[in-house]
Every structure is written in C-alpha cells, then in structure tokens.
C-alpha cells in the first residue's frame, strides 16, 4: 500500500510535467512549446504563485483519483479472496445440478417402490459379475449370468458363496455398477453388501439381491443408448479392526 504512494510522489512532478507538455502541444506552436519546456525547469525550482496553485490542485486531483482507483483495486482483491472461499459450496451446487464428477443427482424416494409403474417398452439386460479379493478363499459366483428387467419393476437375483476351507471366514462386500451414469438409477432394496457375512467351514449359501431400476431411467436422454447394466460384487475378508478396503485403494 505504501509503495504505490511513494512511487506516486516521485512520479507526480513528472506526470504533471507530461500532462502540461501534452496540453501545451495541442494549443501552442512548436516554438512556444520549446519555450515552455525550457521554462519548466526553473518553474519547478522557483514556482510562481499561479503555477504552484495549479500544480497543487492538479496534484490533489491526481491524489483523489489515485485513491479511488486504489480503493477499487483493493475491493477487487478482497472480492477475489471471498470468491475463492465461496467457490467450494458453489462448485458443489453446480456439480449437483449438472451431475458432473459422479455426484448423485438427487436422492431417490423409498416410497417410490410402491407407486412406480413399470416401463414395459424398455427392456434392460442386467449382467452379473462376482469377484473376490485375493486374500479371501470363498468361491463366489452369480447364479445367473444375466436377467432382463424393465425400469420400475423389482427384480431378484442370486449369488452363491461357498467356504471350502476348514475355518469360518467372515466376508464383507461392496458393489459396482457399470455404466457409472446408470448407477444412480440402480436402487437396491436389499442385498448382502456392506455387512459382515460369516460362512462356516464347508458352508454354501445363496445370497439374494433385490433391486429395481428407477423408472426415470427411461426419461434420461443420456441413458437412451444404455441397454446393458453390469452389477459387480466384490468380496473382501473382514478382519478385526480392519476397514473395508474401497475398490481402488490399497491400504498397505
């Protein structure tokens, strides 16, 4: 803040001289302009009364103008800082509105299951995939490779898991839906994910998934060409005090 003031004070006589010279050239001839320039130097050392009042007025004018300019610049700086703080919630709102970055567009209504009407014209193939993490020794596989559903209709699908070892193993699973955009329309009413499931030695169980595809899937123009949705489950071993490893992260 002080630096511009200092600069201004050193430059102001120069500025006033330049301004006067410019004014002079528009109104007087070259000769008189030369006289004026020659006269400028003694004028700065021994200012006459008229000249000093005029230069003081001009200097004051310059100062007030510079002050307003600096105020504007300071306000713009503060505005920029405020905008950078406000950008976080603003960006979040923008992402929610446009669905960028995979954020959920809106939460779905759980009472919708009761009132939704199946869109019978739109048949979607849901394929199933089963994966296990390398450390878990379960045999995990889907019992059907695909199923044809329509949006708005609840559907049931089965996976099978077997523990071939001699000790009980606790597994916990997570799922993935491809394509990602369709994932927001894929609603699971009940399944077997995110909770620890214990299998005793040599035990085999059926694991159902009860889901439906939101009827609004048919209205979304981005989903117009989507005919296949893949549901993929991955089982991990659950150990005491260990967090569920999210797909893609490695914790060790």
């Amino acid at each position: 803040m002080l630096l511009p003031l200092l600069l201004r004070q050193s430059f102001s006589p120069l500025l006033t001289g330049c301004v006067r010279a410019l004014h002079g050239s528009s109104q007087r001839t070259l000769l008189s302009q030369g006289e004026h320039l020659l006269r400028r130097r003694p004028a700065s050392r021994l200012p006459t009364r008229n000249h000093s009042r005029k230069s003081r007025d001009q200097e004051e004018e310059w100062r007030t103008r510079n002050k307003t300019v600096l105020t504007y610049i300071a306000a713009a700086g503060v505005g920029m800082i405020g905008l950078s703080y406000a950008s976080v919630p603003l960006y979040r709102l923008y992402c929610q509105a446009t669905g960028l970055g995979g954020t959920a567009v809106a939460g779905h209504d759980t009472d919708q299951v009761e009132t939704m009407k199946p869109v019978k014209e739109r048949i979607i193939k849901v394929t199933f995939n089963a994966d296990t993490h390398a450390s878990i020794q379960w045999n995990f596989r889907p019992q059907q490779t695909e199923i044809y559903v329509v949006p708005g209709e609840t559907a049931l699908a089965f996976y099978r898991a077997k523990n071939p070892t001699d000790k009980p193993i606790i597994g916990i699973s997570t799922y993935n839906v491809v394509p990602f955009d369709a994932g927001q329309y894929f609603n699971k009413i009940q399944c077997f994910c995110f909770e620890e499931q214990r299998l005793n030695p040599h035990e085999e169980v059926d694991m159902p998934v009860f889901f439906y595809i939101d009827p609004e899937f048919d209205d979304d123009p981005r989903m117009a060409r989507v005919d296949t949705i893949t549901l993929s489950y991955t089982f991990f071993e659950a150990k005491e005090g260990q967090q569920l490893p999210l797909p893609g992260y490695s914790y060790n």
Binding site: L100, G101, V113, Y148, F180, F194, E195, P208
Partner: protein, 93 residues
C-alpha cells in the same frame, strides 16, 4: 474404472441398500423357493417380468423364516400381483 483418481472423471459411488442387508440363509430354508425361481428364469430366457410370482414367494418364505423384515408386499413393488378379485384383473394394464 473407479480407481481413476482424476479430477472431473465420473466415479462410482456405492450406496447402501434401502432396507439393509439380507441375513444369510445358513440352513437353506428357502432354497426350494429359490430353485423354483431359478427354474422359472431358465425356462423364460431370464425374463424377470415372467417370474415375479416366484420372486414374491421367495421373499414371503424369507419373511416367514425371520430372514427378512416383514413388510407389506406392496412396499416391495408387488402391488400388481396382489389383486385377489378377478374382476379387477382386466382393468389393470
């Protein structure tokens, strides 16, 4: 694909199921109903719309054996299978 940590690329965000997790059917109490459902699926080229009755029966079996929280079947989307009077069947699409 959900491993891509690029800013701006879409990533999948798993959501918890609405009604939570199914308890495991350790004793195979509803295995018969499941087999009926799978049989129906195989016969109908895996068309879910044709096997809704079997899926309803499987869920009812689960509820009977305390393997699922009891809920009115309308809430599970089986409203169209619940109409008992045959006179109304014609009006339903």
């Amino acid at each position: 694909m959900s491993t891509a940590m690029n800013f701006g690329t879409k990533s999948f965000k798993p959501r918890a199921p609405d009604k939570g997790s199914f308890p495991l059917d350790h004793f195979g109490e509803c295995k018969a109903f499941k087999e009926k459902f799978m049989q129906c699926l195989r016969e109908n080229t895996f068309d879910n719309s044709k096997c809704r009755l079997q899926s309803k029966e499987y869920l009812e079996c689960r509820m009977d054996h305390q393997l699922m929280a009891r809920e009115p079947l309308q809430k599970l989307g089986f409203k169209d299978l619940m109409d008992p009077p045959p006179s109304q069947e014609g009006s339903k699409p």
